[in-house]
């Protein structure tokens, strides 16, 4: 079908009009018209866009809160786990510090052989000062072996089972340790008490007791090896009318916080009871 001349002229006129409008727009002559026309359109577009975003936010924000809450819960759980790990590691660090100190002590006295043990309990009776350690006869521990820490003398083994032992502390009321003062050669006795205080007994009046003097085991009696630090003199009590003077001793070991100890396994206590003379009836 051939186009009619009238239709051809219409098309040409339309093209001419559009070209003219295009050229006018390029020349900037249509700017006021466009501004007037587009401004309300842009406003409508802005309104539509803001409403759309509001609807989207309304639909998506609750989901974000839920996911954030879940994430927060996960992080809190993770935080709790990390805090537990920190506490665990701090505990291990403290334990390692104690063990390093014990190791240093053992290295400083190579003549002795040691067995490290953890303190796992205390005597249920408040009248007695004993602790229970987690090593026994299976580990080579025997009755009477001395027990020490890096700070000084703890006590001696009073009872042994295959896997645990009971240690009588030097602070026990029935404990007596033969000691000497580092500054002199006086041999005296150190006694425990129910309060855990240590007292030097049977100190001759001519011995000068000075606050701060170190108290060491003397080795007499064969119960403990010589020269283990026990503590230092805290105060002396001298009454001229008494035969002996006494002194309070500050223990070198913190017995309230005893965690790990060393048992001297190559020391065999001497049983001197048969040598003590008894009255003949």
């Amino acid at each position: 079908m051939k186009p009619t001349p009238q239709r051809t002229w219409q098309t040409a006129a339309l093209v001419l009009v559009l070209t003219g409008v295009f050229l006018l727009a390029l020349g900037g002559y249509l700017a006021p018209f466009l501004r007037t026309t587009l401004t309300p359109l842009v406003s409508v577009q802005q309104w539509l866009s803001s409403r759309y975003l509001a609807v989207v936010e309304f639909l998506t924000v609750p989901r974000d809160v839920a996911s954030l809450r879940q994430r927060a819960a996960e992080l809190e759980e993770q935080n709790a786990q990390l805090e537990t790990q920190i506490i665990d590691l701090q505990s291990q660090l403290r334990e390692a510090d104690v063990l390093y100190a014990l190791l240093d002590f053992a290295r400083s006295r190579p003549e002795n052989t040691y067995k490290a043990a953890a303190v796992i309990g205390r005597d249920p009776s408040p009248f007695l000062h004993y602790v229970i350690i987690d090593r026994g006869s299976d580990d080579g521990l025997r009755y009477g072996m001395p027990v020490v820490t890096a700070q000084g003398l703890v006590g001696r083994i009073a009872a042994v089972t295959s896997s645990a032992s009971r240690v009588q502390l030097v602070t026990d009321p029935s404990s007596i340790v033969n000691v000497r003062l580092k500054t002199g050669q006086s041999e005296v006795q150190l006694e425990g008490s129910i309060t855990g205080d240590l007292t030097l007994e049977m100190v001759p009046q001519d011995v000068t007791l000075t606050v701060g003097d170190l108290v060491l085991t003397s080795g007499i009696g064969g119960t403990y090896p010589a020269d283990i630090l026990v503590g230092q003199i805290l105060s002396a009590r001298k009454v001229l009318t008494d035969i002996f003077q006494t002194a309070s001793v500050q223990s070198a070991v913190d017995f309230s916080n005893l965690q790990a100890v060393l048992v001297i396994t190559n020391f065999r206590p001497v049983e001197i009871t048969p040598l003590i003379p008894t009255a003949i009836p």
């Binding site: 796992i120 309990g121 205390r122 249920p124 408040p126 007695l128």
Partner: protein, 168 residues
């Protein structure tokens, strides 16, 4: 009955472990609570319980094994406690919680008195007044504080072991 006796062994072992590892490390002055004594009191005071003697003897053996105190002294102390509880059970029918508190006071004095006497006789130098003020009185206070919760635990356990029969 046999179940109640068998139950004594694991329960008292657990209580002894708690006593040695925790309670003995938490002194008030120099006194500590006696969980085993409170467990015997709490258990034996229950209405349907008749195995108090076995519990007392078991507790005595466990203390004898773990403490430096003579096992005979520990067993005798706890058996005396059980006897005292039986006596009170026959005399007092009401207000078991008050009886628990009263018995806690009396039995703490009794067991600690026996221990103290034994140690003094065996030659341990223990000043009586210091022992009373620094060990016995604080121990009584701690035992009184723990008496009620332990009584409640023992009552629950007794109800579990001896369920009350419902008459139809």
């Amino acid at each position: 009955m046999i179940w109640a006796n068998l139950l004594a062994i694991p329960v008292l072992i657990i209580i002894t472990m708690l006593q040695i590892s925790i309670v003995s490390r938490m002194p008030l002055l120099h006194g500590t609570a006696d969980l085993l004594l409170l467990a015997i009191l709490g258990w034996t005071l229950q209405k349907r319980v008749r195995s108090g003697w076995f519990w007392a003897a078991t507790a005595g053996v466990l203390i004898g094994l773990s403490s430096a105190i003579s096992p005979f002294v520990a067993i005798a102390s706890y058996l005396l406690v059980a006897a005292l509880v039986q006596f009170f059970k026959r005399q007092v029918w009401q207000a078991p919680l008050l009886v628990m508190l009263l018995l806690t006071l009396i039995c703490t004095l009794l067991t600690q008195g026996i221990t103290l006497a034994t140690l003094v006789i065996s030659g341990t130098p223990l000043p009586i007044l210091d022992s009373l003020s620094l060990i016995t009185l604080p121990s009584i206070l701690l035992n009184m504080v723990l008496a009620v919760p332990i009584y409640i635990i023992m009552a629950d356990m007794a109800n579990w072991v001896f369920p009350e029969e419902i008459e139809g």
